[in-house]
Amino acid sequence: MFNFIKTTLKATAIVAVISMQSCSNKDNVQPLPESSQYFTIVSQSNGSEYLASTASLTTGKLSFVGNGIETTAARYLYHNEYVYLMNTATKKFIQYKMSADGKITENASILTSGVTPNYFTSINLINDNTLLVLGMENNHLGNAGWARIKLPEFTVIDKGTFKLPYDINLNVASDIGKGYVDNGKFIAGSNRYVLDPGKPAGESLEGSYALVYDYPSFANMKLIKSSATTGNVGHTYLESLLSDEEGNHYFVVSAGKYWGGNGGKSGVLRINKGAAEFDTDYFFDVTTPVGKNACLTSLSYIANGVAFGAVQYEDLMTQLSDRYKPVAQVVKLDLKNKTAVAMNSPLSAVGQFRSPLVFNNKYYTGLVTENGTNIYEFDPAGDANAFKKGLQLDGNDIFPNLIAPHPAN
């Protein structure tokens, strides 16, 4: 009997020891090295998403093993010392504060339910103190909502509803993309397409479109068109809208067969400062000079008319899901002279170009290659080889979505 009890106690002790060992990694957080400038990286990894800071974008290694704030995000933005993420699991738009010492903390949140339909699909920085968020029903009938959020307090100032173009006779619907406010108007990119009950997404309607509303009333909707190409203007979750030093606005128009259009010429459209129509003299065809049926998907402005962005080579694709393969190339565009240079950096999957960083006149983005994921630094002053492989994001299935600078230390 004594032996029996002894054996039972031993077995229980073994189980207890094993279980305690399994919980022993609670404090396994990577310490940050000293730095005068930290950066936050938001990246997908193996089914979830993590925010972690790094002391450098150009050297070293960042791992999410035991490190980073876990989240789920669908939209990404940074402004000043804050990162904003749209968390679809909790239906919250969350504000994180980045500190000079490299720390990241959740600061505040806004419930999207009841503010706009669905969630905040289009997030637009109007000025230093105002975010304009848009949400729309996905049933293509033209119902949408807007809300203005005060920064950095992060509270809803006001909200309302508005209509998107929906032509019941032609069975044509519209989405709304990224937008800006200029001269009392809110102007946003759009995608117009024919509704086809038998297909997930009908063909894009001929032409490229933007929507113009009075701001902030969202009255007097007007549809403006460019006939330069047929595609999706100012896609909501990629860097697809920029403004130059003169106040002119440039939209990415994606016309690819596997992104945004019907397989035509992708490029850049312009709306001049104060205007509410496309500049009919301006279309920058990127597909032709870059070749391989390049479809421009994103663009970030550096200075003096130079911007960096990404194209997906549709000649390397046979289906939409090939976007997760190395089919994307970084390109440097001169918006004034309409010249395009395909950089000699490695091909990458497409998804990581959601929110790259322009910092100190250089462009930083993650490239997901067959050898892993790194942050690359691109210098606008150089040629197609003016790039450096930088910070390594350790592990597999790493797709960085946002790079943001902390306040300088």
Binding site: A11, F64, G66, I110, S113, N138, E153, F154
Partner: protein, 814 residues
């Protein structure tokens, strides 16, 4: 007459739910009343007549009475069990010679030849060796399910008869079995997911009397079955016997309904918190002369499920949109299910042990309160289901030749399930309409209004045959064929978004052959088995017809060895295969894309268990440790396929799992039983290289995400026979359950204090039962989750708090 009344009331032949509900309610009441009246009359009528009786006792050499041992009259369907005094009795036996058998894991089979004489009671007593009986009364299993226990398969047997008086929720009950975890998304009728030794979801298969339940829908699922209907629940961990002819990968649960061969009536009703009601009536009548038998059972479960929720995501928006935490009552989570089954035919006749024609029907109606988390609040969305199944079953021992037993089952069923998402109002947790849209609440693809109906038509056939060559050698052959056609329709949604708008067909055949080698007393039993898994699937796409086919083999061994009167060892190992489901292979026509190259999941499973028992004075102590190993490849997971949010199933993962579980039972005489079990399972990602990039995975060997790994249960039960009166008895019990906190996502990734967790849960239940007139009248009172703890099985999906219920039960047996 009732139908006409309803038609008149509705002013037309209306198949709306409201009309049908009234109809069904009236029919239900009438049916219950007639069933009660009929069965009571028959049972009483059969109490007299010329026949003989057999009675006896089962005791140890020291005279200790043995409870709950099963005695069978060979060549008949009649079985019974010993009571607290070790007594058993068979009444209304046709005079003649019989062989009765008492079987147990430790002592094998003891048989006696007896003669039943008209108008007399024949005595037959069994004496078994000291200590050996302990092996038959382990855990909560009691002594039934001897056939299962005599094999080497790792199995727990939940003896439902011992807890028939309790207000039992099956999922709650099964979660107390070592190695089993049932995760529910809410209260009664919510979605649930079983895990056995770390393998979960579709890897676990359910059977009722050996028949796969996967095509029966949710209205006729394990959690809706009343405990009164069930004799025992067999939980197989790892290898499963061939007679369960499914493609279980990590385990199986077989519900064995009452094998009581006497005429009886069993009626129960319970009422509890959140307006939770469970009613069940089961009955059987058999004519002694020609063996004509009728059986029927009706059961109904309903609840408002309006329990309070709070915490993360249970929030409403303040004036600035910022979240304000609230404590809210669930308001769209009502649940109602009704099932009925009737069988008629012949039992215990010379040409059949049973030939029964049956009709099973069920329906379900429930609200859908939340989406993937409690952040998604739905106020009007609902789900309805209807199921009907005619069936026939036949079984015969010594069919054509001595030693050959044949069981046949054949059925056709139709399952219709509708998700109603037609409201344009959006709600918050305060039940306020915060938005009116043109789309539905649930959304899905397109966020459109929807009333999607799936219709599955399945025919299922099973042949099980065993042949006993001698006392040492026997074979078992099992063949199951099922074929399902699935079709979807939706009057509201855009055509391209309707799942299964073109029909899908899936057929499966699982064939198994087992050979058993044992000694005469069955102190050692070896079972070798081989299984073949075969499927064909076809789907019609817009442009073409897609078909796929696969054929796989599995095999295994299970052994049992009784080393001494107090030590038993069991070991089993197998290669198991789980065939892809139809929607995994062929998609659903919109959100899930077709994956015709999908391969079956494969798992190598092994279990080793032992049982040590010790008797001292009037006490019994039993210790059952076991270890298991799982190596699973080709795991089928849903992977994102395109930017429209559509997905495709892929063979992308491998896991390796090891675990240990232990159970201790202490019993003092018949009045005290204390049981405790603890399970630790270490299921790890075994995919070393990323299947897309080829890079070494940084979650290689990480603990599987969203999977509990440490859990335990304890139960103390005090029973008192002859309480206040000689024919009355009472018991009180306390049950505690513990699940350690675990992570939603991969544990390695992210800072430990910044991760999404499913928090630790520790709940306590208490209850008492009191039975009068030898279990004829019973009443029980139970309080579940006594301390009203917040409980989560899934991320941000809260389960009910404290629940109090009372149950009454009436049992009458001939």
């Amino acid at each position: 007459m009732q139908l006409r009344g309803c038609v008149s009331y509705c002013d037309k032949i209306d198949f709306s739910w409201s009309c049908k509900q009234e109809n069904t309610m009236q029919f239900k009441l009438l049916f219950l009343f007639l069933l009660l009246l009929f069965t009571t009359a028959i049972v009483n009528a059969q109490r007299s007549g010329s026949s003989g009786e057999l009675s006896g006792t089962v005791r140890t050499r020291t005279g200790e009475a043995l409870l709950n041992l099963t005695i069978t009259i060979e060549g008949t369907m009649r079985t019974t069990q010993t009571n607290e005094k070790g007594q058993f009795v068979f009444r209304k036996l046709v005079p003649g010679d019989y062989t009765i058998a008492l079987s147990g894991t430790s002592f094998g089979v003891q048989k006696k030849s007896i003669r039943v004489i008209s108008g007399k009671t024949t005595e037959a007593d069994f004496i078994i060796e000291e200590h050996t009986h302990e092996l038959n009364q382990v855990t909560i299993s009691g002594a039934s399910g001897n056939k299962v226990r005599q094999q080497g398969f790792s199995a727990d047997i939940v003896d439902a008869r011992k807890i028939a008086n309790r207000n039992v929720d099956m999922n709650h009950l099964m979660s107390t079995v070592a190695g089993v975890r049932v995760r529910e998304t809410g209260g009664l009728g919510s979605d649930f997911n079983y895990s056995i030794n770390g393998l979960s979801g579709r890897a676990v298969k359910f059977f009722i009397n050996g028949i796969p339940m996967e095509s029966f829908g949710t209205s006729y699922s394990i959690n809706n079955l009343p405990i009164n209907l069930v004799e025992r629940i067999e939980v197989f961990k790892g290898a499963t016997p061939v007679e369960l002819g499914g493609d279980a990968l990590g385990g199986a649960i077989n519900i064995v309904t009452s094998k009581n061969t006497d005429s009886y009536l069993d009626a129960s009703y319970s009422y509890g918190s959140f307006n939770t009601q469970r009613a069940a009536v089961t009955g059987r009548w058999r004519a002694q002369g020609n063996g004509f038998t009728t059986m029927a059972n009706v059961f109904r479960n309903s609840s408002d499920n309006d329990y309070k929720v709070s915490g993360p995501t249970v929030e409403i928006a303040g004036p600035g949109g910022n979240p304000i935490p609230v404590t809210a009552r669930r308001f769209n989570d009502r649940y109602e299910s009704t099932s009925a089954q009737a069988e008629a035919g012949f039992t215990g006749v010379s040409w059949a042990d049973q030939l029964l024609l049956g009709l099973t029907g069920s329906k379900l109606d429930k609200g859908i309160q939340t989406g993937q988390t409690m952040a998604y609040v739905y106020g009007e969305a609902s789900y309805k289901e209807k199921f009907v199944m005619p069936s026939v079953k036949y079984s015969k021992k010594d069919f054509l030749t001595d030693g050959l037993q044949v069981d046949l089952f054949s059925s056709f069923n139709r399952l219709e399930a509708t998700t109603v998402d037609t409201s344009s109002r959006r709600y918050d947790w305060d039940q306020h309409v915060i938005e009116i849209t043109s789309g539905g609440e649930i959304g899905g693809i397109g966020a459109q209004r929807s009333m999607l109906t799936f219709t599955d038509k399945t025919h299922l056939h099973r042949l099980n045959s065993s042949y006993k060559i001698s006392d040492h050698h026997s074979f078992n052959f099992n063949f199951i064929y099922s074929a399902t056609t699935r079709k979807g329709s939706d009057p509201f949604a855009a055509e391209w978004t309707i799942p299964y708008r073109s029909p899908q067909n899936l057929s499966k055949q699982v064939t198994g052959l087992a050979y058993q080698l044992n000694d005469a007393e069955q102190k050692w039993v070896n079972t070798f088995f081989v299984k073949n898994y075969n499927y064909n699937a076809q789907a019609q796409n817009a442009n073409s017809r897609v078909s796929t086919h696969s054929n796989n083999w599995g095999y295994g061994y299970a052994g049992k060895f009784i080393l001494s009167n107090s030590v038993l060892v069991k070991l089993s190992a197998e290669k198991a295969v789980r065939l892809p489901e139809a929607n995994e292979l062929l998609g659903n026509g919109n959100t899930i894309l077709i994956a015709p190259s999908l391969q079956p999941e494969i798992s190598y499973n092994a279990n080793v268990g032992a049982q040590f028992s010790k008797s001292f004075n009037d006490n019994v102590l039993i210790f059952q440790p076991s270890v298991f190993y799982r190596n699973t490849s080709n795991l089928i997971l849903l992977a994102l396929a395109d930017y429209l949010g559509r997905s495709r199933y892929e063979n992308v993962a491998k896991t390796e799992g090891k675990g240990i579980e232990a159970e201790v039972t202490f019993r003092r005489k018949t009045w005290l039983e204390v049981t405790g079990n603890l399970t630790y399972q270490d299921i790890r990602n075994n995919q070393k290289y990323d299947t897309n990039s080829g890079l070494e995975s940084n979650i290689y060997k990480d603990r599987l995400r969203n999977t509990p790994y440490l859990m335990g249960n304890a139960e103390v039960r005090l029973s008192q026979p002859e309480l206040f009166a000689k024919s009355n008895s009472g018991s009180v019990y306390w049950v505690a359950s513990y699940v350690h906190q675990y992570y939603l996502n991969w544990p390695k990734l992210g800072a430990a204090d910044q991760k999404s967790v499913i928090p630790m849960q520790f709940t306590n239940d208490i209850g008492t039962t009191y039975s009068l007139q030898n279990n004829r009248y019973n009443i029980s009172l139970e309080c579940r989750n006594v301390f009203d703890k917040q409980v989560f099985d899934n991320y941000l999906l809260q389960k009910p708090g404290r629940m109090i219920s009372v149950k009454t039960r009436y049992f009458l047996s001939r």
